[in-house]
Amino acid sequence: MTAITASAPPAAPRLALGRTGTAIALLLPIALINAIGFILPVLNLLRMSFNEALAGGGVRETVTFENWTGLFGDSFYVELILNSITVSLSITLATLVVSYPIALYLHRSTGRWRTFLTVLVISPLLTSAVVRTYGWIALLADQGPIVSGIAALGFAPPRLMFNTTGVIIGLTEILMPYMILSLLAGFGRLDPRVEEAAMSLGAPPIKTFWRVILPLTVPGIALGCLLCFVLAVSSFITPKLLGGGRVFLLATEIYDQAIVTLNWPLAATLSMLVLIIFGAALAVYARILRAID
């Protein structure tokens, strides 16, 4: 009967913080890391984009808008920006088209088969993009199996490397795991019963797809496209290697300006531009999500 009188265990020692205090304390580490590792450098880049580049890689601290105005006055850069966006959009679209059926199949498979397929989809991420790009160089080369295969069939051998085609092929494959995982994450609303309902109401498979399955997977499509577009715009190793110096994109140009030409203010300006493009992509994504809600 003594159990009744036993008191509750002694309260754990508590820091004298309120709810808000605890929240701030918990957020502080990541906020600090983010501030030092991301926000400060970005602000630094922003500042750098208003500096003046000197010949031979020097930088003069000043406030000039020449980097920005020069960018939009130079047809090379305007074309570079437009080219970057179209190539990245093409890659995103190609990735979506080849990934969607795989993701849908994966979503519908069950048990061990599903686990196996998921591992298979993620496994390319275990290898670095550089290695996979070299793999594509071997495959797409003029003497490679694909080109010689096409030639053997009697067609004119196409050029699949050192041009935009090669960059799109390589990046599409490299980005597929991200797209498939995003699509899967967004397929939550897809209920097999809803598809069955559509069919029972007289919708053949194609109509069921367009009227029911596709609209319900828009969240996954939007997420995957955002992720792949951002990764495509910022990727530079694959375009550099598969483009063979003949495909000019924002990311490769930033590298060239920063490392080769040593024009840091221009590299900084281009970097800020990439950030602006990301912001625009995010805005479009948010709009899509709002529209379907």
Partner: protein, 372 residues
Amino acid sequence: MMHQTILSGSPTVSDDRDVHLRLDGLTKTYGNSVAVSALDLSVPKGELVALLGPSGCGKTTTLRMVAGLIQPTGGRIVVGSNDITAMPTYRRDMGLVFQSYALFPHMTVAKNVAFGLEMRSVPKAEIERRVKEALAMVRLEALAERKPRELSGGQQQRVALARALVIRPSILLLDEPLSNLDAKLRDEMRNEIRDIQQSLGITAVFVTHDQVEALSMCDKVVVMRAGKLEQVGTPIDVYEHPATPFVASFVGRTNRLEGRARGDGTVDVGPMSVRVPGRPGGNVEIMVRPHRIRLLDADAAQGASGEGTNLLSGRLTRVTFVGDLLQYQVDVGGTEIVVEAASDHGRGIRSVGSPVALAWRVEDTMVFGRSA
């Protein structure tokens, strides 16, 4: 209609010209396990038929085969005089209502209901009119522009019903449509579905594991067990004259005693003797429904005895007050028997441990043969 017999090659078609849906030896196996085994069933036009059974008895598999969502391993599905066994779902013209409602979450209520009509390329003006009618039928006109997730479960299921009925399907298939609703709503929807089915005169198949739904709503109850038909009959048939012990215990509650019949209308259950209808012999199972048994004080028992009455004495072991009912558990020579009586303001509850007598009419005793 004479040539129908020749075309179908089956004599049963001409026998029941009113049969709307017919299953012929319908079978579904998955590897070595049999989900539905050679099922024969005829559903007359305009009837509401329940497929009743415990989970895993094959009732949902049967319904999904009728809907075309599962391809049968064997047998035929015939609607009218058309064999539709190989027809894809979208051409079958059947209205389907799911337990999980399965509304299109990205469409408004009106768009959900209009979907089937749009698939049939019905003119716009007519779609609008028929959607309105269908929503009026389920009393949801006011919610036409809402999205499904803004609706309660009952409202969602009514939309699903309107969506399935607006296409004027030849057959309405309902797969546990009330199981996700709370008890009060379930009673309401039960009546609503039955009323709509009656007023449209539509043939309907209703899958449920709930005997109350099957008995209260349906013209005919098909009790299934392990992929086979156990009994087909009217609700009263199935409840009052169960064909097998399984039906007796699944449809309604029941007390079960095992004994040996003497062949003279009595059965020895341990030291007791119970009178039963007819003159069965051999090993038997006896079943009596709890509400058919009267609980008497031990000393009042003598007066209740008579030619047509079984009388057993025992000891009360538990009393449960369930609101409208009192449930008594009585120990009769080591066997527990449950008795249900209407509760009268909780009055007259006997105390546990007191000696009591149980009385029920001989005709209320169900007897089934038992092997070994």
